[in-house]
């Protein structure tokens, strides 16, 4: 009874999750009732997401990090709330994208399941972000994965769509299997699945080699979600095959949740304490995460950037670019400090805006010309100067050149690295970002440097499209010049982190 009472008392901590579950149920019921007219379904989902967003913001301002309630299954803190905010805002934007996406519109009769599955993903990601228990981690990961498998194959009208879905499923099943194997080993070693308990058993001196083995296996599951090499193989195929809205969603929301999970997993399971300067002291005998992440991040960004050089499909190119960005983001984790964490958070704000922007422009162009091949972009800058210039802004930001927000993100990542005196890693990363210029600028080259094949081609942009593109493009420039707000946001998110 006592347990039940604390549980009920703690329910207020789950407001966003409860809200989003209600939206899920509402969407499904509406879908069943409203047989023919489903035009307002997206608006229901959008409203629900916006309400949830407010609840998440409320959570952001909780003054403490809460772990004791909820049977130690979940952690509610500002870092988690920040990632939830990224997820929910990305979801809002994706709903908006879906409204103007031709691809999604074509599958009009199955809109209900589309939005319901997005809701399902959001619930999964929310729990993923705040879970403190290995079972919770596994369940939420599966919830996200299962929803995204279906979404990746949602349009069903092309072969590559179904192929993407199936590959995603097979690869995902394998990864979560590996992860589950790791979890079972840990449970066998420690008799608990709670990360904090696991840590205390570890600190008392466990079997370190087996423990290390299990840690790497669990990382396989997380690495698959953030598409870190060598667990990234699904990314290009799925990103290319899935509808653009879902590709964009996977590249932002799913990755944000994955990173939150990674940070949670490391800090709860392996970090003894965070000292005054904000450095994370690893528990004795744990795997050398610094070295591990160094290797993984070098692999990830190098592979992503160099493989992207040869891509002819822009979605596939952006897939590799998102792998590369996962590598950059890992740079913030490598240093194992609060400063690094704030750099990750900062980079995520920036990355979410610019990557969503790039996918949005790709989607709008695909709506009009029906192609995602870079070769078909020839001269498009003249057919639609507005989209061309915005694409240039997003891609330059992805490269990390001033005066765009992408530069600020990179700057803080490198600042964290140099502060930690990891110069060689910084040099590798910076050479990578030079390489990345080539494939980003290649798109602009096709858009502007070649004259259009069809001189009369004019792509008109509707008002709704104008608005959404500007909503993403303006902050990229604005935060590049005046970045106090986003840096403050990042700073405040980690201010209370585990202290």
């Amino acid at each position: 009874m006592e347990n039940l009472k604390t549980l009920v008392d703690s329910l207020y901590l789950l407001k966003p999750e409860i809200a989003i579950s209600c939206v899920l149920v509402l969407v499904i019921i509406m879908d069943l009732i409203m047989d023919k007219n489903k035009t307002f379904l997206p608006y229901v989902a959008l409203t629900g997401f916006i309400i949830t967003a407010f609840l998440v913001v409320e959570q952001y301002f909780f003054k403490t990090s809460i772990t004791q309630n909820l049977q130690k299954l979940l952690v509610i803190d500002a870092v988690g709330a920040f990632f939830k905010l990224i997820v929910i805002l990305a979801s809002c934007l994706i709903v908006y994208f879906s409204l103007i996406s031709k691809e999604v519109k074509e599958a009009f009769d199955r809109h209900g399941e589309y939005y319901a599955l997005i809701c399902g993903m959001v619930i999964g990601m929310f729990f993923m972000i705040s879970s403190a228990d290995l079972i919770m981690i596994y369940l939420s990961l599966e919830l996200v994965s299962l929803s995204s498998y279906v979404l990746a194959g949602f349009t069903k009208n092309s072969l590559r769509n179904s192929e993407a879905s199936l590959k995603y499923f097979v690869f995902g099943a394998m990864s979560s299997g590996i992860m589950l194997f790791g979890i079972s080993i840990i449970f066998g070693l420690t008799g608990t699945t709670n990360l904090l308990a696991v840590k205390s058993v570890m600190a008392a001196g466990g079997n370190s080699l087996t423990f290390l083995f299990a840690s790497i296996l669990i990382f396989a599951g997380i690495g698959y979600k953030i598409s870190a090499a060598p667990f990234h193989f699904w990314t290009p195929d799925v990103y290319e095959g899935a509808p653009i809205t879902i590709t964009a969603y996977l590249s932002i929301a799913s990755k944000a949740a994955g990173f939150a999970l990674l940070i949670r997993f490391i800090t709860l399971g392996y970090v003894q304490q965070i000292d005054a300067s904000g450095a994370w002291q690893l528990v004795a005998g744990s795997i050398d995460w610094k070295k591990f992440f160094t290797v993984i991040s070098i692999l990830t960004m190098t592979l992503g950037n160099f493989a992207a050089l040869w891509q002819d499909n822009i979605k596939r190119m952006l897939a590799y670019s998102s792998i590369a960005h996962a590598g950059y983001l890992l740079l913030g984790v490598v240093v194992l400090t609060n400063q690094g964490l704030s750099a990750v958070i900062l980079y995520f704000i920036v990355y979410a805006i610019m990557n969503l922007g790039a996918f949005l422009v790709v989607m709008l162009i695909a709506n009009k010309i029906g192609s995602e091949e870079i070769d078909d972009y020839k001269g498009l800058g003249y057919a639609t100067p507005f989209l061309g210039v915005c694409m240039a802004i997003f891609l330059i930001s992805l490269t990390g050149l001033p005066p765009t927000a992408g530069f600020i993100g990179k700057l803080y990542l490198f600042t964290a690295l140099i502060e930690a005196k990891m110069i060689p890693l910084a040099v590798i990363a910076i050479i990578n970002s030079v390489v990345s210029l080539y494939y980003y600028i290649r798109v602009l080259k096709h858009m502007f440097l070649t004259r259009p094949q069809n001189e009369d081609l004019v792509i008109n942009t509707s008002f709704a499209e104008y608005v959404i593109v500007l909503v993403l493009a303006v902050p990229v420039i604005l935060f590049g010049i005046y970045f106090t707000p986003i840096v403050n946001l990042a700073k405040n998110s980690v201010a209370l982190f585990l202290q």
Partner: protein
Amino acid sequence: MILSIIVALLGIFFAFFIYQWKKLDPDKMAEKVKVLYKISLNKWYIDEIYQATFINGAIGLSKILFWFDSTIVDGIVNGTATVTRWCSVASSKFDTYVVDGMVNAMAYLSGFIGLILRRFQTGKVQTYVVLVVFSLIILLFFFK
């Protein structure tokens, strides 16, 4: 001075003796002292000697010098110019093929690395699974 006047007067007298008063037949005289006559007739060959030594010498020397100047000195100058032009062509070739070649080689190398890394993405999910398992094993040994 007196001696020279006397010699001169003697010469004048001798000339009168032969050509004016015709006491001696000049042709016979010439026949008798043919060598002396010829020398004197040709002004002691001074012009010829002068021509042969000084004038021809000077001309010869100038010819040599001219040859030296145009072939050796100017040759060095022109040679320097030619060598400079060779150098310039060589450095231009060096610039295009070696210095710039290295820059382009870097670009090709990056592309080549990309080409290799791309090979792993076969599109077959079986390959991916095998690769993941292999890399897990490698990671495990690496961090053991």
